[in-house]
């Protein structure tokens, strides 16, 4: 039975489809595996389901015991309230700007430096390479105070410059493009040179068209990274106008005691904050998985 279950597909492949389906016994082993996997999916999905349900209830329903696990009809009120109270349009806009600009900037400067490293011999190349590598070892968490001072000296507190530019150095993206360019056949550059194309022309008309899938994959991963930044925006912004959504959300948490426990409004706001990156993953999942698996360097 056990070995049958694993051998079936390869044997079935050689048989006509109808025969294979008629002869195959019910594969109980596989049904069990599917059930277990479905259970895992359910466990992982439950917190989001619960948040969605709460975001549609009234405060009374939220506080009910036993807890109500089915949606109610007050979604519009709650989402409207959350939107109004947190100035959601501003929060989402800021997060979007940070995510898009930092991702595009990262990709842009990484392509340029990877191109230089692969297609040029220049003095100090090894030094440049190591400097880029070192950024991996210096996450913002270990240089909090002094980076804050740099931003202060530049006058970049509470600006989009401060929110995006320091995120743009990326060893990961540079190495990804470096590796990709190294795999591009040498003949391409030779042909370009024979045609009299200069390096920038070669980058623009030959390399870039080949890199689109890599760029898209990386963009999805970096967008999510940028959207979910926390410590950096927390430090360098202190005005409501420059808040990103992940941080602005917290003002709605009903801390114990003093607040009306409006968890329904809180959950509505949380759903709005998590929806854009989750949608990006779901809609662009092929690119996302590719980006995730390849950008681990």
């Amino acid at each position: 039975m056990r070995s049958d279950a694993t051998l079936a597909p390869s044997r079935a492949a050689t048989l006509p489809r109808t025969l294979a389906t008629r002869w195959r016994p019910v594969p109980w082993g596989r049904v069990v595996v599917h059930l277990i996997l479905l259970a895992c999916v359910a466990v992982i999905a439950f917190p989001l389901y619960y948040a969605l349900v709460i975001s549609t209830q009234t405060v009374e329903e939220v506080l009910a015991r036993p807890p109500l696990l089915t949606p109610s009809g007050h979604a519009l009120t709650n989402y409207g309230e959350a939107w109004r109270r947190s100035h959601m349009e501003r929060l989402l806009w800021n997060s979007g700007v940070v995510a898009v600009i930092s991702a595009v900037g990262k990709i842009l400067i990484s392509i340029l430096s990877a191109f230089a490293i692969v297609y040029f011999d220049f003095r100090g190349k090894a030094l440049v390479f190591w400097m880029i590598l070192i950024t991996l070892m210096l996450p913002v968490e270990v240089r909090i105070i002094s980076t804050y001072e740099v931003i202060g000296n530049l006058g970049w507190l509470n600006t989009y410059w401060g929110l995006t530019v320091p995120l743009m150095a990326s060893a990961t993206a540079t190495f990804l493009f470096r590796q990709f360019y190294q795999m591009v056949p040498n003949e391409l550059a030779e042909a370009a040179q024979i045609d009299g194309a200069g390096p920038l022309r070669f980058l623009w008309s030959f390399l870039l068209p080949l890199s689109w899938t890599n760029i898209a994959a990386l963009f999805v991963v970096l967008f999510i990274y940028g959207w979910n930044q926390y410590l950096w925006p927390l430090m360098i912004t202190n005005t409501e106008a420059m808040r990103v959504v992940v941080i602005g959300l917290q003002d709605l948490i009903p801390r114990t005691g003093t607040h009306v426990p409006e968890w329904n409004v809180m959950m509505a706001a949380a759903i709005m904050a998590l929806l854009p990156p989750v949608l990006v993953i779901l809609l662009m999942q092929r690119w996302f998985v590719k980006g995730l698996l390849e950008s681990d360097k």
Binding site: P67, A189, W263, L282
Partner: protein, 293 residues
Amino acid sequence: MKRTVFRHRGLPYLLVLPQVAVTIVFFIWPAFESVRLSVYRTSPFGDKSYFVGLENFAKLLASPEYYHSIAVSFIFGFGVTGLAVGGGLFVAAFATQNIRGLTVYRTAVLWPYGIAAPVAGIIFLFMFHPSYGVLPYWLSFVTSYDFNWLLRGWVAMLLVIVATAWTLVGYNIAFFLAGLLAIPTSVLEAASVDGAGSIRRFASIVLPLLSPITFYLVVVNMIFAFFGAFGVIHAVTQGGPGRATEILVYKVYKDGFIGLNLGSSAAQSVILMIVVITLTALQFRFLERRVTY
């Protein structure tokens, strides 16, 4: 193989300039500055500072609070990594059964990766809510123990661990599935012809083949739990109750940004730098091995 290169004197420098400028201004310079600050004592307003040598480090290493924070970080780090990598491996174990719809399952578990850990933390904050949350309610049927994270440090710790692991588990599953797809089906079939059961097959063939990926994921999850998890702590527990969830990066922020003890905060940064360099070096060792394959 010799690559074709372009010849140009200034252009390559121009091309690497943006990357190098950002790296120097926002990474390398602040890192040096942190090291410098760590050997000074600065007044809270930053107007005076004295060179104190290694005093900041000595004070730190003599303070029980610092050791407490180290212990908390390790509990948090191992908790998150164990849950997220273990959960990933659990799903992967079933996915070896060469079944249909694996990519659908992958999508169905991958999306929490898009949720920022602090946002996940807020959702779990409500699920763990001592009076309204669904988890304490369910647990009250089993035990009369009071699962109140505001009063009990370990419940608070569990809360942030579960919330963080929730956002990471899909990432781990994606890596395990990629690793599983790389194992030739002929290997598994040969094993089942030899009469190896599915548990044997997993333990003696799949697991060893997945061990480099597992190692890599442990390191990456650890790095995230040590450094990336600042947000979830700040948004959910603020290090409390007491100091029960005060991980090292939160303490750096609290001492430096709120307590304005710049010297001590910088000294902590320098120690963390050593930790992250060690972890990253481990990560590279794995990648190097895989690259030479």
